[in-house]
Structures are given as C-alpha cells and as structure tokens.
Symmetry: C2
Subunit: 324 residues, 2 copies
DNA sequence: ATGAAAGCGCTAACAA
DNA sequence: TTGTTAGCGCTTTCAT
C-alpha cells in the first residue's frame, strides 16, 4: 500500500535499519489509515522469541497467590514480557496440562507453584524441555531448580512453640491436603517438631481441602472428643479464617475459648477481629523476585538460585493463653 | 526422523486425517524419544487462530478482580482458551498499551475493566480493530459494547437510603478517584440521589486513590471539622476497610461512634468485625459469564449483549443508628 | 536507502 | 494412506 517492500516496513516499524524520512512518513500515514498492526505471531515464528512467560498458581481466590501474581505481572510489564496465566485448582493433572500448553506456546520461562515438587510430572516435563522456571512458595528440595520461598518448617515450628509457650498442650492442626501441597507437609513437620520439642506426643491432624470454605464438620468432630483442643494451628490463613468461623458457629469464642493460628500473612488477617497470629510470606515481593530472576536466567543464562527469605511472625489477637 | 512427511505427522498429532496404525505408532515413539512438541506459533500463524483471550483488570490486589479473573480463567480453561493477563493499575495509558499488546498478539477476544468507558482510548482501538470484547464491572453506557455489571447507581442509592433511614444526616462519601473509575462516578451519583431524595444538600465527597492503603489524612481532615460525619459511604470494600482502620486509629469506634458502608461484597467483608454492610457483586460468576459470552461472540458471532445482574445488599454490623 | 528472497513450523489443498 | 507444496507474516542477510 505504501509502495515499498515489506522489508522497508519492517525496518520502519522496528527502527531496525535505515529508512529515509520521506518513506517513513508515507509508511506511518498508511499504517494509521489502514489500521495495520504488526502481527506478533509472525515475528515470534521468525525470531523464535515470544517474550512471554507462563504463570501457574493453584488458585487466585487465595490472596497469597493473587498478590504474588500481581507482583509477577508488574515486573513482567516493566521488562516487556507478556504473561500467560493458568490455575491448577491444586490438581496435578491440571498442572501438567497447563505446563504442556505453555510449552507448546513457547513461553520463554515459567513461574509456578506446584502441589509437590518431588512428585510433579509437570516439573519433569519442564526440566526435560530445558526451559528456565522458578518455583514460588514450594520448599527447596531439589536444588537444581530455582526457588523462592521461606523456611516453612521452621516458621511452623516457631509458631507452634509460641502456642506451647503460652501453655497450650492440646493443639490440633487443620492441614491443607498433603497430597495437594508440599508446604502443608513442611508446616506439619514443623508442628510435630515443636510438639516433640516440648515432649508432647498427642499429635492431632485433620486434613481439609484447600477449596473448602466450610470446615465445620471437621471442627465439630474434634470438639465432640473428651478433651477438645485448646488451640488450632492451620496451614494457611484462609483455612484459619474458615476455622474461626466454624468455631464461632458452635459457640466457641476465639481467642477466649480457643486460640487459632494461621500461616501466610495475607493482609486481611490484620483487619480481622481477632487479628490473626500468623507467619508472613511477602507474596508480592516473592512474585517480583521470581520474575526478575527468571528474566536473568532467560537473558543472561544466570545459574539456578535458591532464595529462602526470612519469614516474619505476626502477633495477632487470635492466640492467647489457654482457658484455665 | 520417523521417515514420514511433516504432513503425516501433522495428521497424526491432530487426528485431522487418516494415518495408518503402524505409522502412528512410529510417530508416537519418535515424539516421545525426541521430546518433540508441536509449535503453537506455527499453527497459529497458519490457521490464523490463537485460542487466546486477553484479560485486563485494574489490579489483582483487590479481591473483586482476583475473583473475577479466577472465574474467567476457569471458564477459559474449560473451553480450551488461553489467558493473557495484564493489569492497568487504574492507568489509562497502561490500559491502552496492554490492549495494543493484546491486539498485536492476535487475541481472539478480551474481557476487561477500564477506568472509564466513555473516555477510553483502549476501547476505541478495540472497536476499530473489530475484535469482540466484554466489559466487566463497567456500567452500560454505549450499548454497542457487550457488558456485564450491576446497576451501581441504584445499588448505591439503596445503600445510602438505608443509612438515611437509620437517621444519619451527615454522610460523607470516600470515593475512589473518579478519573480512574466510572463505577465510582455512578456510585457517587447514587449517593447524591439518595441525599436529594431525603432533601439533604450537604454532600461531602473526598476522593482517594485506589491503591491507597492509608486514608488517615483524609479521614482526619473530615473529623477536624465542626460537625464531623456520623457515617461514611465508601465506593469499594477495600476503601471501607481502610476507612475503618483510619477511624480506629483516631479512637473512633465503628459502628458505635460512626458507621461505615462499603461496596463490592468481597468475601472478607463478612469475616471482619464489624462485618461490612455492602452491595454484593458476584465477581466470579461475572467473570465466568463474561468468558462464556465472549466465546459465543467469537465462535457463533452472537450479537452484543448487556447483562445487568441484580445486586444484593448485604447487611453487616458496620452500619447502625447514629449516636444520639 | 531499498528490495528480493529465504525460511521460521505449521496446515491444507491437491496429487499420487 | 501418504507426500508435495504453497503460504500464513515476519525478519534478515545479501544485493543493489
């Protein structure tokens, strides 16, 4: 339309070569008039670069992941990368199929949280595909993968020690399904470490689904026992909130009757009454770091890195001494 | 590698034509051994279909958007579509550039929430590009765009009427920046409708940024006046939560000293103490519907539709009679 | 400063 | 049942 070759248009659009002022003017005019848009697909095919990264999280309904994705997306935008998003709903099958899709779409890298690093079919595909990725939230196990996380076990240990120090002896753990979360497993280990440290062998663990809004059934079951727990350690803040609701429904007051502790440090925990005692993961920064590191690995072929951030215990009102 | 032509491989991989059992077996074997992955880019270029939709929201930090994106993503996955995600941070410039990127990536449709439909450069690009899109949360104005929303003005009117009915006469509105949200404008109109309906002409509107976690300054200013408000109407739940915090910081109790009402119906509002009085938008379903309708428009060229869902008022503890 | 042409990986006629 | 081939839109040498 501009009476020039496609090569010249390419050079004009990308500024990738010399174009005379006059031809550039003509091309600009024609582009505006015709509504021409360079087709990224063609460019991607030719250059073998997509400037796209894949992001896979279990669910956006948990603010810990929404915040992380927010951090990732902002960093990506800054660096000129596009974000393909998928959620797994904590299902390993959906993890694998999402990763397959990403790989076929030729994403240049991934940031993801999987159910369990060790059992992940998705991660095997990824490593054999040889494309860089960063695990987010998943604990470090195989140090040949880049990861960003906190020490879940230690944080859980410290949290439960606090509970024990206040005098709690019957502490139940409401754990997200172990098969769906290696974080949950680590936190459970920390819980047991703490009990053992205090010479207590009454472990009381109830697994619940992560998508479960209502844990009344499980809580009721625990409270019908002869010696109900005086405190609950929950493997996420979202589960802690559900636990508090369930307790309230059966007439238990938190924290006077029973204490509840969460994990994650989602910001709403602070505004609740009682505010949540929890361990804070800086989700948004973790997302940002993951993205930045991923881009380093893509562009500069930087080596794998395992970043374990210090966690932070947040004292809330939901944990007090046990009733006498 | 399998000793067959690319055409045969294509047929085998896609099941798009006859392939003998033996050749299929060979191809499968070679694919597994070599780690071959069909390149979507090539296919996309050839077929001129990307099976990708763009999603643009202001921010994932507000659960109303995170929930909506969650709904969109699930629906997309069900229908075999990929999701390219971007956030605008309530900036119209970033809206436009995200839409440009989407368009160049040849997304087949978009679901988006823009600052203001009427002033949106992004929407002009979109409509002239002739690709289907669905506005989410934005009120219906130009009915030639598909939209899914509630009647913001009416909901705000009803909410503020409730406040007036309880006896409040000095009601301030803490509004998200009008330039960043046409919802905020509509809700403000509903607020004024209600005041007018009760013959009150003391409108008291303070604009705040959406990303603003801390509204202490604005709240303090209002409370240093001779007759401070007895109630606050906030244009979102997130702002309402910030308002409650600011009030608490200056020693005001909600709701005994002052009432606060939000808008959106994010689920945490229910677990707060006091629980939030608000108007509920069913974000996840809105996302699902948006995605489903978008795909109808893509596949079957269904006409534009404007769906205005009934809103629902949620009675919470944050609204009571004004102190005597 | 510009153009011609090859080729990225794929699909879809068409031919055999 | 399989192969040959053109071409999707782009970038990039290599000529001119």
């Amino acid at each position: 339309m501009a009476g020039v070759s496609v090569a010249t248009v390419s050079r004009a659009v990308n500024g990738s070569g010399p174009v005379s002022l006059e031809t550039r003017a003509i091309i600009d005019r024609v582009i505006n008039e015709s509504g021409f848009r360079p087709n990224s697909i063609g460019r991607q095919l030719k250059t073998a670069r997509t400037h796209t990264i894949g992001v896979l999280v279990p669910s956006l309904k948990n603010p810990i992941f929404a915040d992380a994705v927010n951090g990732i997306e902002c960093a990506a935008q800054n660096k000129g990368y596009n974000v393909l998003l998928a959620s797994s709903g904590y299902s390993t099958d959906r993890e694998s199929s999402a990763v397959d899709t990403f790989l076929n779409s030729r994403v240049e890298g991934l940031v993801l949280t999987v159910a369990d690093e060790e059992k992940s079919q998705a991660l095997s595909s990824l490593s054999s595909a040889g494309i860089p990725f960063v695990l987010m939230f998943n604990p470090v196990k195989n140090s040949s993968y880049s990861t960003i996380s906190i020490d879940n076990r230690k944080a859980a240990f410290e949290l439960v020690c606090q509970m024990l120090k206040l005098g709690h002896r019957r502490i139940a753990m409401i754990a997200g399904k172990f098969s769906e979360s290696d974080r949950s497993i680590e936190r459970q280990a920390g819980y047991q470490d703490a009990l053992r440290h205090y010479g207590i062998d009454q472990v009381l663990i109830t697994e619940v689904g992560f998508e479960n809004q209502d844990v009344s059934e499980q809580i009721n079951a625990l409270h019908e026992a002869k010696n109900p727990p005086t405190a609950y350690f929950c493997s996420t803040d979202v589960i802690a909130i559900a636990t508090i609701r369930a307790l309230t429904q059966i007439g238990k007051n938190v924290p006077t009757d029973v204490s509840v502790v969460g994990f994650d440090g989602i910001s709403v925990g602070e505004w609740l009454t009682p505010s949540l005692t929890t361990a804070v993961q800086p989700a948004e920064q973790m997302g940002e770091w993951a993205m930045q590191h991923l881009i380093e690995r893509i562009d500069e072929d930087v080596p794998v890195k395992n970043l374990v951030l210090p966690h932070q215990l947040r004292q809330g009102e939901s944990l007090v001494n046990p009733p006498i």
